[in-house]
Amino acid sequence: MSRAQSSHGPSRPPIAFVVLAAIAVVFFLLPLIGLLARTPWSDLVSLLASEVVADALVLSAIASFAAVTISTVVGVPLAWVLARVDFRGRALVRGLVLLPLVLPPVVGGAALLFALGRRGVVGEPLYEATGLVLPFSIWGVVIAVTFVSMPFLVLTVEGALRNVDVRFEGAAASLGAGGWTVFRRVTLPMIGPSLAAGMVLTWARAIGEFGATVTFAGNLAGETQTLPLAVFVALETNRDTATALSLLMVAISLTVLVLLRDRWLRPQ
């Protein structure tokens, strides 16, 4: 679709759309205004300049980027299989991928505990063999946020792969490119914008994850306490700290999302 064509689309949107869209924007804007209204601006720096906040920030950064990395490494192949391979039970696998979106995160965290905890189905043999305990460690945080956020990557990339014109892959194959080369040099660049969008969504979900993390990985400052957990704890004691932390999260997320949307995700 050329730029000229899109600019010649319907110039006047339906009035009902404008009104309803405005309602939606206000709906998103109001909580932000509430947050800003309660922000203790004068104490902001001192509230955020604590070791607990710094630890939570670092942990959230590590965990969210680890989640994006793991989701990409295993999620892209999964999306490819779902989009391209016709196998029995594909609908079931796709439903399984959707599960973390449907499950309340706390339940997801408990389920992870039952599976990968020290007494879990898989966790117990793992613990007996290696002494590794996943909960109450940074590994637990990474596992919890990855579990909850990976569906965004898989769904986005699968959709993109379905829209790829497979004739280009055939063209590459006819030129002697094997499966991996075709994927790397043709398919991947074609789904690039969608992959980036999926990674950003995954990151956004990971950075905000609370329920599964606190249930599976627990809450210990400097060990497993991510920013959302710090916010929750702060909310119990000092609302100013909670507000300041929330504002920090909003600022980080908006920066990343707006920058990426503009730089990476601009439609070709």
Partner: protein
């Protein structure tokens, strides 16, 4: 053509606004306030208050007790932000203080029950925990409630009275999630309310904490003046303080103050 499109558009807007308005009114004020009592109660009170609510409803036909269960601090924040609640039952006097200080309660809060703490271990006590001294063992996986919630603050008082520096592996946001991890065997021991041990199904065993170091958790209750049904709220609080109410609470392991 343009005019008819416009009119069509406007009709749609009107109907959309009407639908939203209808939803708002039907959510907000459909029921008569006088037959509904809204009670915000701390997580650790959930089972006891469910029983109290049923009993109160049985004694007052036509009255509905609506429970809002959550962490004491969360419930307090809701009330401070103007949640339409008639009664607030908290797990600590500290949590209740801002409500009373802020003039949101009808008079002072009353301590209606007291709870004591206990050590909780997974069924079978796999780590062979015997007492508070084990909480200092780095080898064990120890969980407490976070210091910002009452059960966490009480647990730390117990610890300091016993002279033990706990090797904490996780600070859980509420008793419920601490119990979940103990039941699952992921934690070797934690400190919870005795009532929790008693009401937990087979997955948890309790170990008593000596009276000398144990802490009495005072549970205050108050009627919220800005609530939609303060009369109903006062009636409910009176019922909780009554002999019948105290008997029900005792059945869940609580002690009359």
């Amino acid at each position: 053509m343009a005019a008819s499109t416009l009119r069509y558009g406007r009709l749609r807007v009107v109907s959309a606004v009407a639908v939203i308005g209808f939803l708002l009114t039907s959510c907000g004020g459909s029921s008569d306030a006088s037959d509904e009592v809204r009670v915000s109660a701390a997580s650790s009170l959930s089972l006891a208050f469910a029983a109290l609510g049923s009993a109160f409803e049985a004694l007052n036909p036509g009255v509905d007790v609506v429970l809002n269960i959550g962490g004491s601090s969360l419930l307090r924040e809701q009330i401070l932000e103007g949640a339409p609640v008639d009664v607030y039952a908290s797990a600590s006097t500290d949590t209740m203080a801002p409500i009373v200080d802020g003039g949101l309660s009808d008079g002072n809060a009353t301590v209606f029950v007291r709870g004591f703490l206990a050590i909780a271990v997974p069924a079978g006590n796999p780590a062979h925990v015997t007492g508070l001294d084990d909480f200092g063992n780095e080898e064990l996986l120890i969980g407490l409630c976070d210091v910002v919630v009452p059960c966490g603050a009480y647990a730390r008082q117990v610890m300091s009275r016993a002279g033990v520096e706990p090797a904490v592996d996780t600070n859980e946001p509420n008793v419920r999630s601490l119990l979940t991890k103990i039941e699952a065997g992921e934690l070797d021991a934690g400190i919870v309310y005795m009532t929790d041990v008693r009401s937990a199904s087979g997955g948890v065993e309790g170990i008593e904490i000596p009276d000398a170091v144990n802490v009495a958790a005072d549970y205050p209750i108050a009627v919220i003046v800005e609530g939609p049904n303060t009369v109903g709220g006062r009636a409910f609080v009176d019922f909780v303080m009554s002999g019948v109410g105290q008997e029900i609470l005792a059945g869940f392991g609580f002690v009359t103050p």
